[in-house]
Symmetry: C2
Subunit: 412 residues, 2 copies
Amino acid sequence: MTVTLNKHRLVDTMETQARIGGTDDGGLHRLALSDEDKAARDWFVDQLAALGLSVRIDAFGNIFGRRPGTDPEAAPVLIGSHLDSQPNGGIYDGQLGVVAALELLRTLEDDDVETRRPIEIVNWTNEEGTRFQPGLQGSGVWSGVFDIETEYQRTDRDGVRLVDELERIGYRGDTPAEPREVYEAYFELHIEQGPYLDANDANVGVVTGVVGLSWGEVTFTGEANHAGSTPMHMRYDAGVAAADLLTSIRRIPGRLGDRTVGTVGSIGVEPDSINIIPETATVTWDIRDPSDDVLDEAVDQVRAEAESAASREGIDCAVEETARTAGVEFDDGCVETVQHVADEFGYESMRLISGGNHDASHVDLVCDTAMVFAVSEGGKSHTAEEYTSWDDCFTAANTVANAAFLTATDRR
Amino acid sequence: MTVTLNKHRLVDTMETQARIGGTDDGGLHRLALSDEDKAARDWFVDQLAALGLSVRIDAFGNIFGRRPGTDPEAAPVLIGSHLDSQPNGGIYDGQLGVVAALELLRTLEDDDVETRRPIEIVNWTNEEGTRFQPGLQGSGVWSGVFDIETEYQRTDRDGVRLVDELERIGYRGDTPAEPREVYEAYFELHIEQGPYLDANDANVGVVTGVVGLSWGEVTFTGEANHAGSTPMHMRYDAGVAAADLLTSIRRIPGRLGDRTVGTVGSIGVEPDSINIIPETATVTWDIRDPSDDVLDEAVDQVRAEAESAASREGIDCAVEETARTAGVEFDDGCVETVQHVADEFGYESMRLISGGNHDASHVDLVCDTAMVFAVSEGGKSHTAEEYTSWDDCFTAANTVANAAFLTATDRR
């Protein structure tokens, strides 16, 4: 048995939420804990209340709305995403995931459908991490990854503390920011933020995990010298070694795997003057792959390439991995439920691993989890140009809603 | 006939001038038109007065001291360099050239030697160009390359105007900053600021010219994108193209000539974030060679390499040459005079082309010119570590002094 969301109402709700902090160019500017975020939260709570759900706001501002199941002992199913946006971001991002969950609960009410398990809808606080770092903050606190007292003290660029903003907008709730019980599963819908689904003409993405990530920095130290009077063979040019490494990092992913990506987002030299041979140069790396072993191999290759580049210039280098996040493999059962729903509805689905991180990575530490991706045209994301057709919104929403519904009725 | 400078007094005078603005680590901090520069100028004028020379300060602060010749109609010989220094620079740089000239005039007085031509010693204002840009400013105004009114208005980083500082330290003189008569020749001694003499075990450098220079900038424009979710084959990474070009510029000089040098002193990407594929990237170039044709060819190669790099990433590039200075070929007669002197004294001389620019390039527009380079250990320059042994100081000073002396006695 499946339920079918009301597409007209889904679109209407998407348009309604998009007006709260909407920008002139059709984007969304709704930074976490801003006045716009408060307005979106107030609207969301009103929608939950109108459905007669019991609303709960935890100490970190995460908002839950619970629809009871027929079995008071059964572990609930959680479904949701986030309402906050990037500065001048798009209107789909995670918002679609919240609206899809809302539409599931509305549809169950409309159709008078009962589920054995309770269904909880959730809006996580500060997924984006642009006003206050880090991102995925609400889910991180709830999952026990972050310490709430530490996160309370985070400040934005004006020095405003997160906890003070949470108080100011009235969303420092009175229930503990932690799982109060055992959850059966968590499902999250998000736009892809990448081009795979669009490039492969898929309708919907069945997300099997999130890639792991290695961040690091290489610093080369040579000798500053006069650009005019220093012969080419007597130079120790840190900039040349850095550029040499950068082009190598471009090639490393192609040696490791078809889903490995590697990026140098930052390169700089000192003293950074047109007529002085650079003394020092730094290059950052961002390498991602689902496998920790592949990340290890990638970092080894960066180190070897850095040492070769330094040796070719006769200079020194220091290689430091500054961050490592393990890849996440979602629960097979949850993934199969999503796949089953997509197949039932006849959607052209595609399995993929998320290249960006999501609240689901945190929630996966608490309970079985899976994600659904909506098609994002050209992979555009975090910009007003982000676009998902209403058809694709509906397809993805219907998929995540039914995955939660099937789990709540134990049909998964 | 030659004169031989007093080495003990040369060393003593070098040590005396080095104390005016001297730094704790044995360097020199005597920025143009600062209190330290004023003190050095006052000391210099005292030395000229003590020799009974007629001292002249022009409207741009260039200081001249003239020793008459026996023929009142004869064109004078000019010899000198500059007393100002880089921030925390070395004590030799151009200072040695001024002290060598002073020692020539002292020696002629000591030995009661007359010359047919007058000899003028000069200290040029603001050679270094760090406090006020551009450098080589006093010689540039005097030679008619720069407009004095424009240069007066230059400001330092505190917004102080050059002309006001010139007034404040009392060195805005009342004679026009221009050649008042025809000059027979100009000789300038400077340290090499490069490693060629030291690397070739030469005692002294016979400088035949100054290399020409091309400066430019290449800007690549690609597409910013998410470092995690953008597949390698769907990237338009401006940073990769910039690094690619940088490594190519490292190779261009090796295809063009044994004195061609090419440097990328600056590379940068935007948005310059560890997890965003760079949208734009810029690379500067500094390429030097004595020949304008070689510089043309070098710029053509940079353009071709930039276009290849851009095309490999499927992005755009813009190539702009921002400055071009033609190479200077010093007067054969003056160069031969320097060579003759070095040979007469049995010095191990080496002919070379200056990779850095000097006041002599400007003066060469006014009269026949040549330069002498002193050996600089390891080519270090513009740092307290700059070092020329007193033997090498003496050798170079003796060479430039006798070149001027021979020219003043028409023995060249």
